[in-house]
């Protein structure tokens, strides 16, 4: 058996193994890259508002400024390329295979610790760009049950979930047209990340989960127009509903938009808005909602600031509102807030210390039991220790959860993730 065949067999075996063992959750999105002066997203990501498949330049930057360097000022060459540069892709084609796994110990207050394993992501993403036209999409697999580390990514399912053998998931798929002299506009149609707030990898953050704008399964079908300039970027989207859920009554339709100003290369300030309507509210996500029509409105202000290269501060505060009256004695509509304050400290290139604080209160205007504030505190260490691989450990303490996020009791959790991509 020749070397070539052995290599091919090894690749095949590893891929099959990976496919069977791993599966679905979100992708890249590092809003703290502003420390390097990258205020926008689309030099490194195909999605103009961030997250998802990396551009060729983004892959290079992963190696140059994100990963721990083992040799000073070394040019990564083809190391960052698809499959470590084993074969050259044409400039028009981007490919990326992502695998992410999470081992989590949950310690609810007063209950014994429990160990979990989640296959967070096994996605194959691709983009083909022909002239000004783009085709972009991802497809992945999620195992069937929590016991097998799956059961997630429901709202991004192509095949029916839950099922006995897992599901095929597709977070994004869209057709795009680059417009403008410098292709500063991108018009897209398909299943898209909802343009709203800070686009971050941490999809459970309240500001993402409560507003249903996370990059895990928060995508919606619709049409968007994105603009990226030197001092301003933004995106506006007409939301036509998530066609990965049914019946139609639960699909939210409306629009969302964000704009971000960058007065300097180390400061970005943004605002977002989202307004949707559904014939039936998701009472499964928020028990205080009734199964009747709902208008949902969210408004956010955010900032990304890097006062020194080692330090990046991310902050977002959201005003939440929906049109339903509270049941059982409520005096007003649901009116609440969510906030995020995250600090990223780069101890050394490739090693990040993370801390975050979240606050959620869905009914701040009430004077009853609905008016409850949930707080979380995160601390983590993220190590981009090798080409295409990163390891992350987080400790989270939460006083509860929020609608749309994983329902958890007060307590703490220890999380260890490993992520690799080709």
């Amino acid at each position: 058996m020749g070397l070539v065949r052995k290599t091919a067999a090894l690749v095949a075996a590893l891929s099959v193994l990976a496919c069977l063992m791993l599966a679905s959750r979100p992708a890249f999105a590092f809003p703290w890259m502003i420390r390097e002066g990258y205020t926008g997203c689309n030099t490194c990501h195909a999605d103009p508002s961030g997250a998802g498949i990396l551009t060729q330049y983004g892959r290079g930057m992963e190696e140059v400024i994100l990963r721990m360097p083992y040799k000073k000022d070394a040019d990564p060459g083809k190391t960052g390329n698809f499959f470590f540069g084993a074969f050259d892709l044409p400039d028009q084609l981007l490919l990326q295979t992502d695998a992410r796994n999470l081992v989590m110990t949950v310690i609810p207050n007063g209950s014994p610790a429990q160990l979990y394993d989640y296959v967070m992501q096994l996605d194959q993403s691709a983009q083909l760009k022909l002239g000004r036209f783009r085709m972009n999409g991802s497809i992945g697999y999620t195992p069937p049950t929590q016991e097998w580390g799956g059961g997630g990514a429901l709202a991004a399912s192509l095949t029916d979930q839950p099922s006995s053998w897992g599901a095929i998931v597709a977070r994004q798929y869209w057709l795009g047209l680059d417009i403008g002299k410098d292709e500063e506009f991108l018009l897209r149609a398909g299943r898209l990340n909802v343009p709203y707030g800070i686009r971050t990898l941490e999809h459970p953050f309240f500001v993402r989960s409560v507003t249903r704008t996370d990059s895990n399964t928060g995508q919606e079908h619709g049409v968007s127009l994105a603009y990226t300039g030197e001092k301003v970027r933004g995106e506006v989207m007409a939301i036509l509903g998530n066609y990965a859920i049914r019946p139609d009554a639960f699909r939210e339709r409306g629009g969302s938009a964000f704009v971000e100003l960058t007065p300097s290369t180390k400061v970005a300030i943004g605002a977002s808005a989202l307004i949707t309507h559904a014939d039936v509210a998701r009472s499964d996500l928020e028990p205080s909602l009734s199964a009747s029509p709902i208008f949902r409105q969210d408004y956010a202000l955010h900032a990304r600031i890097s006062p020194a290269k080692a330090l990046v501060i991310l902050a977002e505060v959201d005003a939440l509102y929906n049109s339903q009256q509270l049941p059982g004695g409520g005096t007003s509509n649901h009116f609440g807030m969510a906030s995020l304050l995250q600090v990223d400290l780069q101890l050394y290139q490739g090693i990040h210390l993370l801390a975050a604080n979240e606050i959620y209160n869905g009914h701040i205007a009430e004077k009853n039991a609905y008016n409850t504030t949930t707080v979380t505190a995160w601390g983590g260490l993220w190590w981009f220790f090798a080409p295409h691989v990163d390891l992350r450990v987080d400790f989270v303490y939460a006083t509860g959860s929020a609608p749309g996020s994983t329902p958890t009791s007060p307590g703490s959790a220890l999380l260890a993730q490993i992520h690799g991509y080709l």
Partner: protein, 181 residues
């Protein structure tokens, strides 16, 4: 009597101007040189250095910026910029030479600003450029600021391109320094 006074005053004024004009500029403090480049769809690159020399030759003033410490915050990018594009081993400096007469220096603790022309030498090529300046005199110290727009193609510098991202050839340069006379 009045004529004599006018004459004396005029002579004194002209004399003062001549002294001012002949006084040599000496750079003080820490200067700041910044360039702004941009790439496709919002990409910004900012490079800085605090190396700047002022060579006052009387009728001409030469502002020289050594390029070896020009930095953009990313080591590999700096390496490419200095060695692949600016080729600092051969062309170590950027130099703006201007006629003293084209710049108006403020008298006393006042300020002046305006547009002027000079010749910019980078990468072994020299080209006339227009620049904007502002000078403020505070207790004898001149606070000098200037901006100039350049097209790197005019200086025979290859347009930087890396992994599919190509930087625009037009760049802006800002200079700030203090000097005494």
């Amino acid at each position: 009597m009045n004529r004599a006074r006018v004459l004396v005053t005029t002579l004194s004024f002209l004399s003062a101007l001549a002294v001012t004009a002949d006084a040599k500029l000496t750079r003080t403090g820490t200067p700041a040189v910044t360039f702004h480049a941009s790439g496709p769809a919002g990409m910004n690159i900012v490079g800085t250095t605090s190396d700047l020399d002022v060579d006052d030759q009387g009728a001409k003033i030469v502002i020289k910026v050594p390029l070896k410490s020009l930095a953009t915050g990313i080591a590999l990018r700096d390496d490419h910029m200095r060695n692949k594009y600016l080729q600092i081993a051969t062309y170590p400096n950027a130099e703006l030479t201007l006629d003293r007469a084209t710049v108006h220096f403020p008298n006393g603790d006042t300020a002046s600003s305006g547009d002027a022309t000079g010749s910019m030498a980078i990468h072994g090529k020299t080209k006339n450029v227009s620049f904007h300046y502002n000078i403020t005199r505070v207790t004898g110290t001149l606070h000098v600021g200037g901006t100039v727009h350049l097209d790197i193609r005019d200086y025979g510098i290859d347009i930087p391109s890396y992994l599919g991202v190509t930087v625009k050839p037009e760049i802006g340069v800002e200079v700030q320094f203090t000097a005494t006379e």
